[in-house]
Amino acid sequence: MKKYPKTLKHKVFNRKRAFKRFKSRQKTKSKLKYRTKEAIFYSEEIERVKGKTDNYILVPEVFSIVDNPEKVIEFITEVRKYAKKGQSVFVDKSRIVKLEYDGILILLTLLVEFKEKGLIFSGSYPKNKKLRRKFRESGFFEILNSTNFQKRDMYEFPYKNKKNILIKSGTKLSPERVSKIISVITNGLFGYERESEGLNNTIGELITNTVDHAGNITKWWVSVDKDPKNVSYDVTIFDHGEGILKTIKKGQKKDFVDNFLQKFKGNQIKGDIELMRYIFDYRNKSSISSTNEDFRGNGLPTTNKNFKSNYYSDLYVISNNIYCDLKNNNFKKTISNLNGTLITFKIFKHNRFED
């Protein structure tokens, strides 16, 4: 028969040892629990894909429309095709290796579109840890998992734990909200509020363009993101409207546009590129507006003028099938057609502010 030590010394020793082992077991258990959660999540996703309960779409590895326009536009078109059909999708983000803020904004707009229609927009996390954190911080998953999502004219998503990053949307321009965006940027860069006539003008005019041409149902989206190195802010303005060229071509200044394009007869690509150049050229005496009012059409030339005046840097415009890198004055045609417009630029400390 086994002998149990009953002395006080042994009792204390046993108790201590048991407590240590209990603690150690607890620690392992919690780790296990965490791992299991992730594993379950992952396997559930795979099962869902295997079972083909949703339409499976693979997110491009480089998920930034500026860096990888063709693939990203194809992705947007494919996802929206299912939204129009009223079908749910499974978006596989596991293979993303590069994710920029314009990519997060695009995914968010698509997610909201699906949520508003009551459709499921499921997907997987990126495998890359840093990108997974970027996603988590964006608040993307809070919206994804929200059970009582309500359709609204305006949304505001401040990034989790980061006061300097936010995403706004709406169907009308609110100048106060534009002012708040400028305040976030200048406070983030300088630690105090500064004024920027150029930023106010550009963001306001671009939103107004969306309100005018993308229709009241389509929302404008603005995302303001602080660079991880704290040296700049990325501003992205996006809408799922018709796009600049399409709107201009079918607008009331159709005759002017047709005459313009006539010069490039037989070379439609060059025609479209040159038309886009003309639209952004603020030195033109007459601007092109989709309305027949010749005093209008100030928004896009002003965007370029403010860029040249150093209110912001690295201006890119992607709309329909034209990709404009205004920094290098490089305009090119894309194979894929983006229904909508995405405009993005960076703001550094060295850019122009009024005071």
Binding site: K172, L173, S174, P175, E176, V178, S179, I182, E195, S196, E197, L199, N200, N201, G204, E205, I207, T208, V211, D212, F295, R296, N298, G299, T302, E354
Partner: protein, 134 residues
């Protein structure tokens, strides 16, 4: 064909008050309307130029006409500045809206007071001249 006289910056820039203050109607856009002026039309968003005309300028222009006064638009108290379309409305738009036919008529009714947005005066003259030539 006679060439229409162009408006100059000196014609529209208001710098000093005359001794007779009764000659003027002052409108400070930042304090009398909004520190955040918005787009051109009401349907586009808040604090639009259209709203500015309806809530403020139309009545004041009527008064100015009846009492032979000049409206001074004080531009400086707004927060970040103006959108290009708002700028167009408060320059070329005045010509369209109030049926102004020539430079003298414009000078008689409208002037801009600004220290902060002097660069806009150039744009104003352009927009006004464009509209007057139509």
């Amino acid at each position: 064909m006679t060439k229409t006289k162009d408006i100059q910056i000196t014609d529209i820039h208001f710098e000093e008050f005359d001794e007779d203050l009764n000659k003027y109607i002052m409108i400070n856009i930042g304090t009398d309307f909004s520190p955040h002026p918005g787009p051109r039309y009401k349907k586009q968003g808040d604090n639009s130029a259209e709203e500015f005309f309806e809530s403020k300028l139309n009545d004041e222009f009527k008064k100015a006409k009846e009492m032979d006064k000049t409206i001074i638009l004080d531009l400086d108290s707004v927060k970040h500045g103006y959108l290009a379309s708002f700028v167009e409305e408060i320059s070329g738009g005045l010509v369209r809206k109030y049926g102004i036919n020539n430079v003298d008529e414009f000078k008689k009714y409208f002037r801009y007071k600004t220290e902060r947005f002097k660069h806009l005066l150039d744009i104003f003259t352009d927009k006004i001249n464009n509209q007057l030539k139509k």
